[in-house]
């Protein structure tokens, strides 16, 4: 027993300070991080800003012991430390919440929490663990179902659980990698408010990677900005305007601006009437009473993750058969078969495109060819046209600026933004009458987000009916003409975007109406 105790020292009781000095990381000839020094005092809420590829991930991976920096030092609580591996970082009380989930999908939340401990005994006394967990959960500002396999939770719920896990493990310095990407503003505020409370109380120090200026100004004490692997500026948040921070982050590069909204008017393209289907648990019903999307408008569906948006997408894509009601496209009953989708020019952009819209091991060219490999100007093809595939892929990869080593690379080797660009290239080409999108910008960097939103807006302006299901309210507000709020499997509220009140939307998202 003693032996075990020696190996897992008790985590520190108070918040830790942390400092990097001249941190440099080279991979071969490529310098990912150059001479970065940042200082995070104990009990502060520090934000690390920067575009994808700016070196934020590299920096935190050096701190967490995933990488051994080429040069530079790390100081934790005033003592210089060597973090040889992530385990060593954990022993120091450093923890991290990743962009991608690290939970075991087949285990419940309770099981995930307990097995994540370093000192978990060979035989677990579940009764006692349950009691301890309930006591722990009682102090938490939000709840996660503890007894459902994590694989069945929605993205937002998983992210909450990831955070809970770090707190459960007693980490005193927490690195959060875009933790609010999938949370609603009120959830995010609640979450960050809680983190803020912990830092103010001196129980926790937080270093958060974020793209959202709103969160920075509302919660952070200090900010450090990285650009192309170098420290580009920073300081107290109270001394900086968002414009200052954006300038540090982007440098001189010009952003893709969201295309201007033009006046459009069109016929109803998509209509759902009394459509009912069971939700993923099978116990509740998703019911879409009346949903219409007209040509040339973006209808945004806002809502807290897990309120039926995933199921709505599946109903629209024919993956979740309807128990009652109907879907119509251009006033014709629609069941989302391939021939119907091709005939009516219906396109889908599901969330997490690599997982839901691509075959990861197939090549970039093959993935881009998914939509029209079997039809050429309306005629069904028997032989696969490899030449057409390569020509089309080369054209679209160039047009959408997809960065790939070659067209024959597996699409899984691309970065998230480039996978999304490739999928957009596939789905936005040709005539598009109806576009159904879910969380298109989840986990993407600043400029990729701007570019992708501009593409969606351009599709709308050219007369496409767009249904945008998104958990990012900023995105809904920026793009939509009409906003619907989904809550507990139903459309709870509708408002034109021009006169939308965030407070009211938030109220319906939270289910208080």
């Amino acid at each position: 027993m003693n032996h075990v105790l020696e190996k897992t020292p008790h985590p520190p009781a108070r918040a830790l300070s942390l400092e990097t000095l001249g941190m440099t990381m080279r991979f071969g000839n490529f310098t990912a991080l150059r001479d970065v020094s940042i200082k995070v005092p104990a009990g502060s809420f520090h934000v690390l800003l920067g575009e994808n590829g700016a070196g934020k991930s590299t920096l935190v991976k050096c701190i967490m012991g995933f990488y051994q920096p080429t040069a530079g030092q790390l100081t934790v609580d005033g003592r210089e430390v060597e973090v040889a591996h992530p385990r060593a970082a954990h022993d120091l009380g450093l923890g991290m919440v990743y962009q991608h989930f690290t939970l075991v999908p087949s285990l419940t939340a309770a099981e995930n929490l307990v097995i994540s401990r370093a000192d978990v005994p060979a035989k677990i006394n579940w009764a006692r663990e349950r009691e301890a967990l309930s006591a722990f959960m009682a102090n938490m500002p939000f709840q996660v179902p503890l007894d459902v396999p994590v694989g069945r939770l929605a993205a937002g719920e998983k992210q909450k659980l990831e955070l809970l896990k770090q707190l459960y493990l007693g980490r005193k310095f927490l690195i959060l990698d875009e933790p609010t990407s999938v949370l609603t503003p009120s959830e995010a505020d609640e979450l960050l408010g809680m983190v803020r409370g912990l830092t103010t109380a001196g129980d926790l120090t937080c270093l958060m990677i974020s793209h959202k200026f709103r969160e920075v100004t509302a919660f952070a004490d200090e900010v450090s900005v990285l650009r192309r692997g170098e420290y580009a500026g920073g300081g107290k948040v109270s001394d900086l305007s968002t414009a200052d921070m954006a300038a540090m982050m982007i440098g001189e590069k010009e952003l893709v601006r969201s295309a201007r909204r033009v006046e459009t008017s069109g016929n109803v393209v998509l209509e759902m009437k009394g459509a009912k289907a069971p939700d993923r648990s099978g116990f509740k019903t998703i019911e879409i009473g009346d949903l219409k999307v007209k040509a040339g408008e973006i209808v945004g569906i806002a809502g807290i993750s897990g309120n039926g948006q995933m199921e709505l997408m599946q109903m629209l894509a024919g993956q979740r058969p309807l128990d009652a009601g109907e879907m119509r496209v251009k006033d014709t009953p629609y069941t989302a078969t391939r021939s119907e989708a091709q005939k009516f020019n219906v396109r889908y952009l599901p969330e997490e495109p690599l997982k839901n819209a691509c075959a990861p091991k197939m090549t970039v060219a093959e993935n881009i060819f998914f939509r029209d490999f079997d039809a050429k100007s309306g005629k069904r093809q028997f032989w696969l046209d490899g030449r057409r595939m390569m020509a089309e892929a080369a054209r679209l990869v160039g047009e959408y600026k997809v960065k790939t080593a070659s067209l024959a690379s597996p699409i899984a080797s691309l970065s998230g933004g480039n996978v999304q660009r490739a999928v957009l290239a596939r789905e936005l080409t040709g005539e598009v009458d109806l576009l159904v999108i879910a969380n298109p910008c989840f986990g993407l960097d600043f400029s990729a987000v701007a570019e992708i939103r501009a593409r969606i807006m351009a599709a709308r302006n050219s007369g496409t009916a767009v249904l945008l299901i998104s958990e990012d309210l900023d995105e809904i507000l920026e793009l939509s003409d009409r906003i619907l709020v989904m809550s507990e499997g139903q459309i709870a509220f509708e408002t034109p975007a021009a006169t939308a009140e965030i407070g009211e939307i938030g109220k319906y998202m939270a289910g208080h109406h």
């Binding site: 000839n29 839901n356 075959a359 091991k361 093959e366 060819f369 960065k403 080593a405 070659s406």
Partner: protein, 370 residues
């Protein structure tokens, strides 16, 4: 060179990058299974050394018995015929992400179906009889394995386990039929269906000395390769295999494709049974369950489920199996020794699949740093 420069935009010099990458992948697909085969043979050599036998002598005998003379080639190719078709029963579903290991069942039932046709209508002329037998065998084999695909699609039954278990049912069914309703009363020691009329027997390919099943097997492999790699149907199947969610969001009928391709694989296995009856045994009996279905699994995995690669892979394994008699006599080893070799090779092949992303010529060429 920085990574930025490494990410050549497709507009500039893309063709070269593609060709290099595709070539590298092809080399990987050839080199890794070959290496796995060699490593498997090495491990097997250690096993032989423990038994006090010389590995060199062993492989010399394998070579001689399998590939050394024209007689041994005839023997090997005759064994390769059913193996080619059995391997297709694994390879086709595998391209849709289904691991079917019960091809033996379809072979056995295909053979029985052929025997039954001969008993029902022995008066028909030869060519019609042969076509009838082939159709019956393909339909029965296709329904058997296609049913496994349907169970998977509609009821979520694991296809690997159900196909294996259903192979046992198929063998029991065959025993029941050839010992009961379909038994030729004249078959005393070995219950069989009635012997095929002479005109129904399938002969040899002129000049090769091997029955026509070999030609059908090779044609089947080529057709399957074309189907998977060169047609839109095959492309749709590969999308289903690559990510069934992506296939569904594209509106592809994933379930129908699964059922169709498993049924096609089963039809080929059924044909293998038909050729065993019509070209080798002359009637359907327990000899049909000779394990071709199981060796077919190995061959398909060695060939990475590529129709063209199945042809050499099947010939290699047919050679192994053809040599088992001589090994028994010369080295005084049990004939199951070849099964040990095949088992070890199977494990090294699976291992090479798992290491696919680690050991790769493509990566070596790029000088990948991760």
């Amino acid at each position: 060179m920085t990574t930025e420069a490494g990410l050549a935009s497709p507009a500039t010099g893309a063709i070269k990058a593609e060709t290099a990458e595709m070539l590298g992948r092809r080399l990987d697909a050839i080199f890794l299974p070959l290496a796995a085969l060699l490593v498997g043979m090495l491990i097997f050599s250690i096993f032989l050394l423990f038994l006090g036998k010389s590995p060199i002598e062993f492989f010399q005998i394998v070579y001689k018995a399998g590939f050394g003379t024209s007689f041994s080639w005839t023997n090997t190719l005759a064994r390769a015929a059913p193996l080619l078709l059995a391997a297709l029963c694994v390879a086709l579903p595998a391209r849709l992400g289904l691991v079917i290991i019960g091809g033996e069942g379809a072979i056995v039932l295909g053979g029985v179906a052929a025997g039954a046709v001969a008993m029902l209508a022995p008066g028909l002329p030869g060519p019609i009889g042969i076509v009838g037998m082939a159709l019956a065998a393909a339909i029965v084999g296709g329904a058997w394995i296609g049913g496994i695909g349907a169970l998977r699609h509609y009821r979520g039954v694991n296809e690997t386990i159900s196909s294996l278990l259903m192979a046992y049912i198929a063998i029991a069914l065959m025993n029941h039929l050839v010992e009961g309703p379909l038994r030729d009363p004249a078959s005393l020691n070995k219950p069989s269906t009635s012997p095929l009329p002479d005109a129904w027997r399938i002969g040899e390919i002129p000049g090769v000395g091997v029955h026509w099943g070999l030609a059908i097997g090779i044609i089947g492999c080529i057709v399957c390769w074309l189907l998977i790699e060169r047609t839109t149907w095959g492309f749709a199947a590969r999308i289903v295999g690559g990510n069934v969610k992506a296939a569904q969001i594209q509106g592809l009928p994933a379930g129908l494709l699964m059922i169709g391709f498993t049924a096609l694989g089963g039809a080929f296995a059924g044909l293998a049974g038909m050729f065993e009856v019509a070209a080798v045994h002359g009637s359907a009996n327990a000899s049909l369950a000779a394990g071709y279905g199981y060796t077919g699994i190995l061959i398909a995995f060695l060939a990475r489920h590529n129709g063209l690669a199945i042809i050499p892979a099947a010939i290699v394994f047919a050679g192994f199996e053809a040599s088992s008699g001589l090994i028994q006599r010369r080295l005084d080893l049990p004939d199951a020794t070849i099964l040990v070799l095949e088992g070890i090779v199977f494990i090294t092949i699976l291992l090479s699949d798992a290491l696919q992303d680690k050991i790769s010529i493509v990566k070596l060429m790029k000088g990948d740093r991760t």
